[in-house]
Structures are given as structure tokens and as C-alpha cells.
Symmetry: C2
Subunit: 133 residues, 2 copies
DNA sequence: CCTGATATGTTATGTTATAACGTAATGCAA
DNA sequence: TTGCATTACGTTATAACATAACATATCAGG
């Protein structure tokens, strides 16, 4: 039941939301190609650009991949925790982290405009499993 | 006066240290090729892998580039501030940031093992220049 | 009607990174 | 001193990620 008259950005957002793990641009492309075999990478990258600018999607720099925003278009920075075992990514709020970050940078005269905070490790479930072994 | 009997990793570290800006793997490769025209990317990536594992070099995920560690092999995480204007990257210590990060993640049961903290913005010098306009 | 903004199509290319295999030198332990 | 693991390096090929440059279409508002 895919909707007609959707923009590519809307379709891309749908694809990313359906997944519980980050998707690469080419992952999205492959999925779109099942319906539109001639799709070019450019199209996907354009859609991703508009979605990340709007805040509907976040890019995970350390994975070259994208996840849906957990709170579409929230306008505050967040932190991403990335499980190295199951691959899940969780977005969290952490105001205290950003306030300390701001003050550390502010003292040095640095003006922040975009934050990349990605923590790799093990999620609670995978940690349990490992410990259980 | 380049030394003989240096490993590639040592040479790569030298190249990265000479620069005051992040260098891409292919940037390093190009420089090495001026003396060793047949050098392959693999060689550079191998050197970068060993250097980042040792902590002599840090990878900037959001730039796909590398900088020398400001305190070779320190074994605590640091934050990187990246000037969008002049391209300079500064590494800083910020223990308070990491302690809040740990507690936020710890509450959720997440076990951290590697941190990517990269802040894009304007360094003090570039900010002044902009304001001066 | 014209014009600017946005979305899209198309082709080509640039950039970043790894796989998979082989060789050489070294150190160390049986 | 032979055998074996380890580390570094060479070589070829390919995979994965990303953008440039230029063309066409649609539509809202002046």
C-alpha cells in the first residue's frame, strides 16, 4: 500500500523508519530500486540531505549510515549509543553533557554549531548476553 | 633528512604531525608517493590502523581524516573541535563531559567503549574575523 | 506571463576503504 | 637449527560511499 504522490524524501524517510538499525545510503537505494530500478545514488543523497537538514533523520558519522529521529525534528542535539554487537542505535537526550561541552568550548572561544556525539559499546541486552556466557 | 629503517607507520605519523590540519588517508598516500610512487592505499590504511590503535593518531569520523594525538598515546577520551572556516582541529580534555556521558549511558545499561565527540563550529580566531566584518 | 524555488532525471566521476592473496624478516622456543 | 608464530609489507582488484554538472519539469506568487 505505498502512497502515490510521495516525494522521494518521504519514501526514504519511510524506509529508514521501518528499520530498527541504521541504513546506509546505498541500502536505501537498493530498496528503492526494487520499485524503481533506474534510481541513481544522487536521488537518495538528495533526499537524505533534505531529511537531515529538517532533522527527520540523523546521520551516524562513524557508520556512514542514517537513522530516523526519535522525536522528529526536535531542535536540540542528542547523543547516539551504538551497540557493536547487535548494531542497534539509540538516540538520547543528555542536556548535562551539552552544557559541559559548551562551557569547555566556550572557555576556549570556540563557537559550536553542530555536535557529533556517538558512543560505541554494548547495549544492555547484549551486555547481559555476554555476561551470561 | 628522512630517516632510514623507519616503518611506514612511523613515516605516516611524521607526515600527519607536520600538518596543522587533518589529513585524509589519500592525502598521506599522495605525499608518500612522491618518494614511493608505487605505494598502494592498503599500506597507508594499515599504518593508520596501527597508529590509531596505539593512540598516536585519531581519526575524525565526520571528516574521514586523521590528526596526530596532542599527547601521544594518552589513554583517556578527548573531544575534538573542528573549525568550519580554517579547518583546524583541536583536541581537548573534558572530563566533566565524559562523566555526564557515562552516567547518562550507565543508567540505560549501556557499556561504552569508544567515544566519538566532534564539535563543528568556529574557532576563536575565525569567529573574531567574522565578527570584525 | 515571467520568474524563482523545489524536485527530479541522467551521466559521469571522485573519494574513501577493504578483500584476498603472497612474500620477507624477525624472534623465540622446542 | 629447525620449526613456527608474528609482524610488516607488496600487489591486484574491487567494494562502498559521495558528489559534480547539467538538463527538465512543476508550480506558486508577483
Amino acid at each position: 500500500m505505498s502512497k502515490k504522490n510521495e516525494t522521494w524524501a518521504e519514501k526514504v524517510l519511510g524506509i529508514i523508519r521501518q528499520r530498527d538499525q541504521p541504513v546506509s545510503a546505498y541500502g536505501v537505494l537498493e530498496e528503492l530500486r526494487s520499485e524503481s530500478p533506474k534510481m541513481a545514488p544522487t536521488t537518495v543523497y538528495r533526499a537524505l540531505k533534505s531529511l537531515t537538514e529538517k532533522g527527520s533523520v540523523h546521520r551516524i558519522e562513524s557508520l556512514n549510515a542514517y537513522v530516523a529521529c526519535s522525536d522528529d525534528g526536535h531542535h536540540h542535539p542528542s547523543i547516539m549509543s551504538i551497540c557493536g554487537d547487535c548494531g542497534s542505535v539509540d538516540e538520547r537526550d543528555a542536556p548535562a553533557v551539552f552544557s559541559h561541552l559548551s562551557s569547555a568550548l566556550g572557555e576556549a572561544g570556540f563557537t559550536a554549531d553542530h555536535h557529533v556525539i556517538e558512543v560505541h559499546g554494548l547495549c544492555a541486552d547484549c551486555k547481559e548476553t555476554e555476561d551470561g556466557i
